[in-house]
């Protein structure tokens, strides 16, 4: 297991196009790092430079303290998990996991030890002596993971491993990968375009756009303190709503009425002309269902509901709003860049599933103004981001991870000593 450090990594293709542009990123030992972004953001290229499939134009790739820029993939001792795994029908499950070691001429007792250890983690023990024909889809994937584990690689790398699985197996595998990574405490880099996968799996998530890092943070920090419009729009489903606004004093004037800002945020946006307010769907509620004590913490407004979606445990209402052309164009561009289909001049708000708000009628909504962010529509910068609060969120995630890696180590030491006794 090793740390991975990237220093000013650049990948330029023949035509001069920088697919990865000055990326510096430190991945700690045992950390689960997600590389996420829309297609063309450079995430796969970056992963391939870690593995050694792509040449690095400039910058340093350091794995376990050693610069590996000029090392062949094999010498880097990394494991690409699930890549086109095949199961061999005449080999037992044991040998299906063991064969990379057989090919590397690892002694028999060592093979036995490593395969048994892997089978423990993967709960495949009872299948080891059988042929793979009757394994379930999930068990087959676990055999593939077993192969990666027995190699004792420095890190696991995943390149969109779930994108071609059906929804059920995808959910199942997400849980498996997460559980496995926690148990083994192995450094993992995982590429995905799916923000849900990114948010549920990673200790930290690195959001990329056009070859550049936008933000590296824990899922919670990304969600609550996004650094710009791009990250705010990319993370979260349904996505954050963006409304045009102007400021006067401490009050934002928006299509959904005035929104009052606290002192810190007022200072951050003072003197600006046109702004964008970002409000997550769950910061809204059907005003008739909001507790009296909570009402003063936000503002209420009336609006006509276009569509409602009742999902049993939750409910969404779609509220169209007017925006100046410049803002509409900008939001359309953002949608396009994020491969999103939503019409952004329509707010998606989450309301209680018991709400009686109906389509085509006016209704009264409440909006929690404490958590709204304000963005510069030109640069996309989040003007009201609280860096300290964000850092605190990521620190919490790091503490959790360190604790888990230590537990994993203790467990591994324990099993070794038991094995040796």
């Amino acid at each position: 297991m090793a740390s991975i450090e990237m220093k000013h990594i650049v990948k330029q293709y023949g035509d001069g196009f920088p697919a990865v542009n000055d990326v510096s990123l430190d991945i700690a030992e045992g950390e689960f790092m997600i590389l996420v972004g829309p297609s063309g953001c450079g995430k796969s290229t970056l992963l391939r430079m870690i593995v050694g499939l792509e040449d690095i134009t400039s910058g340093d790739m350091v794995i376990g303290g050693v610069r590996v820029n000029d090392k062949a993939p094999r010498e880097r001792n990394l494991s690409m998990v699930f890549q086109n795994y095949a199961l061999y029908p005449h080999l037992t499950v044991f040998e299906n996991i063991a064969f990379p070691l057989r090919l590397a001429k690892v002694p028999d007792d060592e093979v036995k030890r490593r395969v048994n250890d892997a089978a423990d983690v993967l709960e495949l023990h009872e299948h080891l002596g059988r042929k793979p024909a009757n394994l379930s889809g999930g068990q087959r994937q676990r055999v593939a993971m077993g192969r990666a584990i027995v190699r004792q690689a420095e890190a696991f790398l995943f390149d969109e491993p779930l994108s071609n699985l059906d929804a059920k197996l995808r959910g199942q595998m997400r849980t498996e990968i997460s559980r496995l990574q926690r148990r083994l405490g192995i450094t993992t880099v995982y590429v995905t375009h799916d923000q849900t996968e990114a948010m549920t799996l990673g200790d930290r998530v690195c959001v990329l756009r056009k070859g550049k890092i936008q933000q590296v943070a824990s899922p919670r920090e990304l969600y609550e303190q996004p650094v710009n419009l791009f990250v705010a729009g990319f993370i979260g489903s349904p996505p954050m709503n963006f409304l045009p606004a102007t400021i006067s004093g401490n009050e934002l004037s928006t299509p959904f009425g005035p929104i009052a800002l606290d002192e810190r945020r007022t200072a951050a946006v003072a003197g600006r002309d046109l702004l964008l307010v970002g409000i997550r769907p769950e910061y809204f509620e059907d005003a008739s269902l909001v507790d009296e004590a909570k009402l003063p913490l936000g503002s209420t407004f009336r609006a006509r509901v276009d569509v409602t979606e009742w999902l049993g445990d939750s409910q969404f209402a779609y509220i169209p709003y007017e925006a100046p052309e410049a803002i509409t164009n900008q939001l359309r561009d953002l949608s396009r860049e994020l491969d999103a289909e939503e019409l952004r001049t329509q707010a998606i708000v989450s309301i209680d599933s018991t709400s009686r708000i109906r389509e085509g009628r006016d209704a009264e909504f409440w909006l929690d103004s404490r958590k709204v962010h304000v963005f510069d529509p030109q640069t996309g910068e989040n003007l009201t981001r609280d860096a300290e609060a964000g850092a605190a969120l990521t620190r919490m995630a790091t503490e959790d991870r360190v604790e888990q890696v230590e537990e994993a180590r203790a467990r591994a030491d324990g099993s070794t000593s038991v094995g040796a006794a």
Binding site: A72, Q83, A86, Y88, E95, F99, L103, S163, N164
Partner: protein
């Protein structure tokens, strides 16, 4: 449901009546053809026959099916050795995956058959060489396979040798050129897959006892590196050896089954540095190319040989004249200054023993042989004289075709 077919689609029309709305795994056995000794697949694969042609059907996610469909189509157009794709079926009901349809490669054999059949069991080395050649060929064409294995390759006999075809392009990526890292990784994967596949055969009692899976798999790496080096390395030699050394290198590449696209000679005080650009050519390509340049109609291998001589002559002209010479100009000058003089010099009583192009080919061989012995290029004239005195007369008179005898009168 939607079907996308590549022309000629007529022969695939018979496939439309198949039960595409059902999962492949549930198709009635009466519709299917049992193809024994297939490779290992992660997906459901079935075979069907229609109008005397056999098709392979593979159920995979739509993006993969579309990707593979497009790539295999491009490979076919470029003459890369891969199975021929017919089409895909997408938008199937009940969210079924897409189906990719390829033509079954007639007379092809899977490694399972080749390694386990006693008659061919001893040719493990040749099979691995064939696989390595396929991989080198793909790499030269900028193809990263990502899943090179025996299972994903089909073999065909070709005049006593084997030819290998790529069967599965799911993971394939196409680039203008590919990095050393990608090549190394492809070879690493191939080594691991081949090793596992042979271990699997051994476990099933299907591998002759004298084949060691690990040894064969390990050998693949060295074989790949040697062949890659042979087809891509730069060579430096003295200006006076230039003509025959270029010819020698081109011949060696041809012997390995590769064709040369372009020859680049850079001269300096140390001598000439030769760089060859090896390429993959489609069948009959050389015949057409030679006809275009010279109007000569010859066999494929002869054409390949003559084209090499034209290239080598062009490099010589360019170097001598210190300016670029157009290919068509070089072809024309080669015909009148090199080829025709040799053919015209055939003594009348020996005309027709061999086809003129074959005579020219043998003269080239003879020149190489004499130059090698002399340690310098002996030149065409001397080679022609020696050949007509010592070699051609030894050719049996009987092989002279009736048409040549009649013409001689």
């Amino acid at each position: 449901m939607r079907y996308l077919f590549r022309p000629p689609a007529v022969d695939a029309a018979g496939l439309l009546s198949l039960p595409w709305h059902q999962p492949l795994a549930e198709w009635d056995a009466s519709l299917l053809l049992e193809v024994p000794q297939r490779g290992i697949s992660r997906h459901v694969v079935r075979f069907v026959a229609s109008d005397g042609q056999v098709y392979a059907l593979k159920e995979i996610a739509e993006p993969l099916a579309r990707h593979e469909y497009a790539l295999l189509g491009a490979f076919e157009e470029e003459g890369l050795p891969a199975v021929s794709v017919v089409g895909i079926c997408v938008d199937r009901p009940h969210e079924l995956d897409a189906v990719l349809v390829t033509r079954y490669l007639e007379y092809s054999m899977s490694y399972r058959y080749l390694f386990s059949s006693p008659r061919l069991g001893q040719s493990a080395d040749r099979l691995i060489d064939t696989l390595v050649e396929l991989l080198v060929r793909l790499h030269l064409a900028g193809v990263y396979w990502g899943d090179c294995s025996l299972s994903n390759t089909l073999f065909r006999l070709d005049a006593g040798a084997f030819a290998a075809y790529l069967v599965d392009a799911e993971t394939v990526e196409r680039h203008p050129t590919i990095s050393a890292g990608k090549r190394a990784y492809d070879v690493e994967l191939a080594q691991e897959r081949v090793g596992a596949e042979l271990l699997d055969l051994r476990s099933g009692g299907l591998l002759p006892g004298d084949i060691d899976p690990i040894e064969v798999a390990d050998g693949l790496v060295g074989r790949y590196e040697a062949l890659w080096d042979e087809v891509t390395r730069e060579e430096v030699f003295r200006p006076d050896e230039q003509r025959y050394r270029v010819a020698e290198r081109l011949q060696r590449l041809n012997d390995l089954g590769f064709d040369v696209g372009e020859v680049e000679l850079v001269t300096s005080s140390d001598g000439a540095r030769l760089r060859v650009e090896t390429r993959v050519a489609e069948a009959g390509h050389h015949r057409r190319e030679l006809f275009r340049l010279t109007g000569l109609e010859v066999q494929e291998n002869q054409a390949r040989r003559l084209l090499n001589d034209i290239r080598s002559y062009r490099a010589y002209l360019e170097q001598r004249e210190g300016r670029p010479v157009r290919e068509s100009v070089a072809g024309h000058r080669w015909l009148t200054e090199v080829y025709q003089p040799v053919v015209d010099a055939i003594p009348p009583h020996l005309v027709g023993r061999l086809a003129p192009a074959e005579v020219f080919h043998e003269v080239l061989e003879h020149r190489w042989f004499l130059s090698e012995r002399a340690g310098r290029d002996v030149g065409t004239k001397a080679a022609v004289r020696s050949y007509f005195e010592t070699v051609l007369p030894a050719t049996p008179e009987q092989v002279t075709p009736p048409s040549a005898v009649a013409e001689r009168g």
